[in-house]
Amino acid sequence: MAEKLKDTTVPNPPTADLLATVGLKPEEYAEACRKLGRLPNIVEMGIIGAMWSEHCCYKSSKIHLKTFPVTGKRVLQGPGEQAGVLDLGNDYALVFKIESHNHPSAVEPFQGAATGVGGIIRDIFAMGARPLALLDSLRFGNTYPVEAVGNPEADKAVDEQPQEAADGSGDKLNIPWGDSPVPFVCTVSWMTTMRQQLFERGPEARAAVKAIREMHTGDVHVLAYCVLPDQIQLALYLENGREEEAEAAVAALKEKLAEVVAPQTQGKPPWDSFVMLHPRHSGSELMEAIHLLEFAPVTRQKVAQVSDYKYVSQVWRYGVPWLDDETDNTEARELPYCAGVNDKQAARSRYLVNGVVEGIAHYGNCIGIPTIGGELVFDPSYTSNCLVNAMCVGVVRKDRIHKARADGPGNVAMIVGARTGRDGVQGATFSSVELAEDVAESRPAVQVGDPFMEKLLLEATLEILDMPGLVGIQDFGAAGLTCSSVEMTAKSGTGMRLDLDAVPQRAKDLSAYEMMLSESQERMMIIVEKGSEDSFREVFSRWGLTAVDCGEIIGEQRIEVLHDGAVVANLPNRPLADEGPEYDRPHEAPASWKNRHLLDDRDIAAALERINKLPVATELAGHSLPAPGSDFEDILRRLLMHPSVADKWPVYQRYDWSVRTNTLLGPQGSDAAVIRIKETGQGVAMCTDGNGRAVSLDPRIGAAQCVLEAARNIVASGAEPLGITNNLNFGNPEKPDRMWQFVESIGGIGDALRKLDLPVTGGNVSLYNESGGRGILPTPVIGMVGLLEKAEQAIPSRCTDSGLELFVLGTHHARLDASLLMYDIARLRSGMLEEPDYKQFISCMNFILHAAGEGAIRACHDVSDGGLLVALVEMLAGAQVDVAPLLAEGYDMGDHNRLATLFAEDGNRWLLAVGPERKSWIRTAALHYQVPLTPLGRSVDGRLTVSGGDEEWFGCDWDVLETCRRYGLQAALSGD
């Protein structure tokens, strides 16, 4: 072999252009030189750039990803391999992973999506598993024009303001928030006589709020207040520190309020007691007290379920006295900015949706792996940066699990499958930078897929698993040959001598640089024992594939690359694979985070006003719609026809979801798709779930909610959740607020997983999803798998029989924050999230799984996007059943809370359909599990009638709702 390294000198120091091309920052280049002890040549720079790209080495995310729980009794393989592996409790194991192909799809949707599917399938069969099902999680910009709302500069201006310290040092009132007692701060609460519910109704509660706000004047500052039906709570601050002023102010308030409730109390004193708590708080105690006040209604609602007091808790937030901007409390706050979508962008999104769907269909259908579920979501933030995440699930016999090993010096590396071309050179680097707004220029960085080739590769690979002499398998993912050779050998403590002249090539005159970085698809590397090459070559050749010796495992931990008889690269592999840069990038909440607030009456009133001004659809994909009979009906229809909610059938019917005869519940058969494992009789449930809305409002709680949403779906199908893979789609990590979203989300996912005792077994990070300075909604996508010991016990999400009893299981706090209605339809992108109630979730889960095992549940559907009524329409879709909700007592509320009851998406709730013969069984079981199970009534005459207490709220025809649900997506995609 050649001794001397081929001289492909690069200028020293390298030009900025060159560094940008290979994707290295100047300091990373310097670090590489230090590790190498010399200057790298151009091929080596390419290799280093690829291995140290965000895509390959997770440099921005590694330290945060480490916090995920990754162990569990079923985990056979956690993160670090090509896919995660979970024990099915017998001879078989589940192999699954999710991966993104966002940037390639934004440039060339068909090939981008197709190769994304191809890549994730290879990850599964490279582990030795037969891929059994695909899911995809897709997000695009709106396919129809949408007007921008809010001021685009507003949030930037907020970002540019000096960040206030978390201790409130930016506070205009100069409250010393530290540990020393504050001059005078008190929290006050008092109750009504006999705990009468004097402030339960809207008018009284609103009058109380008004009186409290009027109190906030001069020296008395109301930092937070909370009006409960039977209780008023305040946190006061007195600038001059005179306690008696507080007493006087509170006494005056009590008198005022007594007048408000006089008609109810008939002259009797309304107040029972007067309690002044902690007259002199320290700053930190005060913050805690404020927090308690803020969430007091939430806590209380768990007892009382619902009432009109929900919106009357308000917190005066660090430095923003609410009286200044709330002199007229009916005036709307300024809307946070939300980009619009113009005609051209809408047309491009339609092109992208169609291309991506066609690409997935092309690849999945041809290779014969059913695409059985996923998500399809639209939001303006994804206009220039669509998200295409694909998940694949396979099953392997445990003794056939193969990993990417390259043990045994002297063993042979073979490259199998397709030939190498120029496609995708630098794809790994490409996916680690922000997209230019004109992305069409980037076409050469997108690969081209050949599902037929992959089908052959799949069958041949599964055939060699039992052959003696097989050491390891790895697919060529990002950074092709570079990544596979480096990762396999570094993991095994070996090295590799790679002969590029042996690599089958499909383009002429490929340089070593191009060959090392090509991302040509449908290629794998197998490591086999010396002398056994022929037997492997024979199998591949029977499938019409070439398998070529291209390298040798060496004892030294290096990668030596030969081309044209010369050494063109000679690098130690450990630094490449394990010692890449690791950044703890600065992360900080944006200034707007501190100004977040619960949506209150006036937000919602303003939102409803905006909705009322929206044009009413009179026709949908050729089906005429009568005028809505009420505002509720109007809202329900808007939600049902929203493309993120409407029936996804126009898309799913383009995927082969029934091939392999394992699909028990396919797309929309259940909340999670369920396949059977023929070998064991078990069923595997799987789903993908993300919620950019919730995560954008509160990345920690929002991300935790995504985990719960996925778990709700898995449980709804009757399966027990086993574990997750995740795809973390975020913006530019070099911007502290995006990085903060990322870090907080990881924390939230970790929180939820620990509570539910579920592991992460791997996943994918996709950063830099932004263009034009605006990021996508932060979108962690959870891919969850669950297990049914008996496949036939899978529960559908649709009721097809009549005469079933319907129940709502679980509770919520009736908060519209982050709901599709507020966030998307009313474009109100603000609000706050509540901590999930894990305890209740687990009780509900155990209850459902028990009932499922008993065969007591005929259908189960979780309440998510769009809320209760949307879930109900989906559950009864297309069925000729005459059942509709009569909401139980306790749901009797004022206008806005009716709205929240019907359309809020918070909490953990499921709709259950139970045969009449199991009605009493299910009620008894609910008592046993201590889970809230609320019956929904019935109605007749083909109408949905919603009532609360004795009052009918509204009614409408099922047919109209069904038309909206069925044709909403079609209408959105047709561009009409």
Binding site: C366, G368, F452, K455, Q653, S658, V659, T661, K678
Partner: protein
């Protein structure tokens, strides 16, 4: 009954057909590689669905000329039971064993969904256990299933009662709405003159167990079992 399932490179419903014959029907079942020149004495040959040879030329065109097809033609010529499903139907047409052509779906997209078929004749080994005009529910999954034939061919097929299945609605009516791909006269399957070769776009093997949403497709396999026992095809 001994059933052979031919595997072309790119076949992807081979496992489904093997499962239906072996596990559901309990027949002796064997896979046959596309380069094979013998069918190992099988009584029934199934050409499964998929994308044989990637379908890069015309669907089924290369497979229709592959080595194993000589044996299939011989088998069919001797009156042997031959069933082509989906891509298998396309291959039978390309091999000249059935008349007509399968064009791109009229909607120009792939379609996968449950459809209804009306049994138009029980006079075939594939349908003899069904009732005349019986409606069965089976899935389709194809992009090129739009059956086309010349006027003469069509007249002949009708005269000779060689159209065993037409797309219909749940009530059994042959309507344009029930036609998923634009096929002439809602034709979903075609028999050979000898009635021993059937090509059909829908997938009976994917609807042979009720857990999969329908077991109606099993009736076709039951018919074959009866025909075999009766006549010894």
């Amino acid at each position: 009954m001994k059933a052979a399932v031919v595997i072309f490179p790119g076949s992807n419903c081979d496992h489904d057909a093997l499962h239906a014959c072996d596990k559901v029907m309990g027949w002796t079942t064997l896979p046959v590689w596309h380069e094979s020149t013998s069918l190992s004495g099988a009584d029934l040959v199934i050409l499964p669905g998929g994308f044989s040879y990637g379908d890069y030329l015309r669907c089924g065109a290369i497979a229709g000329r592959s080595p194993v097809m000589e044996a299939v033609k011989k088998h069919a010529g001797n009156g042997g039971l031959t069933l082509g499903i989906c891509n298998g139907f396309q291959i039978l047409i390309e091999a000249g064993l059935l008349p007509g052509a399968l064009l791109r779906n009229s909607c120009m997209e792939f379609r996968c969904r449950h459809i209804y078929l009306r049994t138009e004749t029980t006079d075939s080994p594939f349908t003899r256990s069904m009732q005349q005009r019986e409606v069965i529910k089976v899935p389709i999954a194809h992009g090129d299933g739009n059956y086309f034939a010349t006027e003469n061919q069509l007249a002949e097929l009708n005269e000779q009662d060689r159209i065993p299945f037409r797309y219909c609605n749940e009530a059994g009516e042959i309507t344009a709405d029930a036609n998923p791909n634009g096929a002439l006269e809602n034709i979903a399957g075609v028999l050979s003159e000898g009635r021993n070769v059937l090509g059909m776009m829908p997938h009976p093997e994917r609807a042979s167990e009720s857990v999969l949403g329908s077991a109606d497709g099993k009736k076709l396999f039951d018919s074959l079992a009866v025909a075999y026992a009766d006549v010894g095809w």
